[in-house]
Symmetry: C2
């Protein structure tokens, strides 16, 4: 099947602090026209940090859009032109204080291909050393360690609901053969 939608026009409708929004006019495969809302975002790196005794480090922070404190893997958006590998190392240290001697990319995800162009690069970090975290000013965040079983229980109870966190931890657990 031919699925391609050709862009006929791009209108910038919002310039925000972490997102921009465009309204695209596209031509569908049947020749008809429609509009697509597209949220533009620089993308992000996120890290599954696993300690030598098998604990996973998560960060707790308030997420205004969902009005709740959310437990998520550490993550941060790419600075302009930043290499995702560099962003992963930086965000791990900023948000948790940990540094890793073994950090590698395991997964690439799109959180919402229906309306956002965001790409999240996901890393697995092992051989961790603890240190002092230094979140950005005005970033209120705490790092905490959990066992895989504790995390699975929180996913089942909808305490953990962040999609990148669920996808990344379940994928990493298969690689590390934990919790199976």
């Amino acid at each position: 099947m031919n699925y391609y939608e050709k862009t006929l026009n791009t209108e910038s409708v919002y310039h925000g602090s972490i997102i921009d929004v465009e309204r695209l006019t596209v031509e569908l495969p049947n020749g008809r026209r429609t509009t697509r809302d597209v949220v533009r975002n620089p993308g992000a790196s996120a890290i599954v940090p696993v300690t030598d005794d098998g604990k996973i480090i998560l960060v707790e922070q308030f997420r205004k859009p969902i009005e709740k404190v959310s437990l998520e893997i550490p993550a941060g958006k790419l600075d302009k032109g930043e290499n995702p590998d560099h962003c992963a190392v930086r965000e791990l240290q900023e948000e948790t204080g940990y540094t890793s001697k073994n950090i590698r990319k395991i997964l690439t995800i799109n959180p919402v291909g229906a309306y956002a162009d965001e790409v999240i690069h996901i890393y697995l970090a092992t051989e961790l050393s603890a240190g002092k975290s230094h979140p950005d000013e005005d970033e209120f965040i705490s790092a905490k360690a959990f066992s895989f079983d504790e995390i699975m229980s929180m996913i089942e109870k909808s305490i953990i609901t962040d999609s990148k966190t669920i996808a990344a931890i379940l994928f990493a657990a298969r690689l590390l053969k934990i919790g199976s």
Copy 2:
């Protein structure tokens, strides 16, 4: 730690076809003010349909924001006031043609709590019967069946990148004890 951000002002900045965007002014826990971009969306239901011989049904469609054909679990947004259970049954049939004698909710996710309020209700559907799909007009979509191993391989190769799809299938596989 106190994380709460009090909303001081809400400004509607965009009214789109599938999203609305607001710019909120909030008070941080330290008393300072900042803005938060919030994408409003009605939420969605998504389904992991598993056939009697262990195949998983995915749908293929073009996603304009990421400019690619994306393989995802069937999903659709909630109509105004619609019960997520009803939406799951409807979308499974519309997008794949399948009906299920055993459909149950397994997971609740937020695809991007950083900038969107969207909630996706995820269901596992088994005891499937094939039928004719009837996608919405102007929806170009095909349903295809894959083994769990084929899906894992496509996730590893970044052919499948949709976060709800990865989270939902890995979670369902643990429940069904497939691929472990």
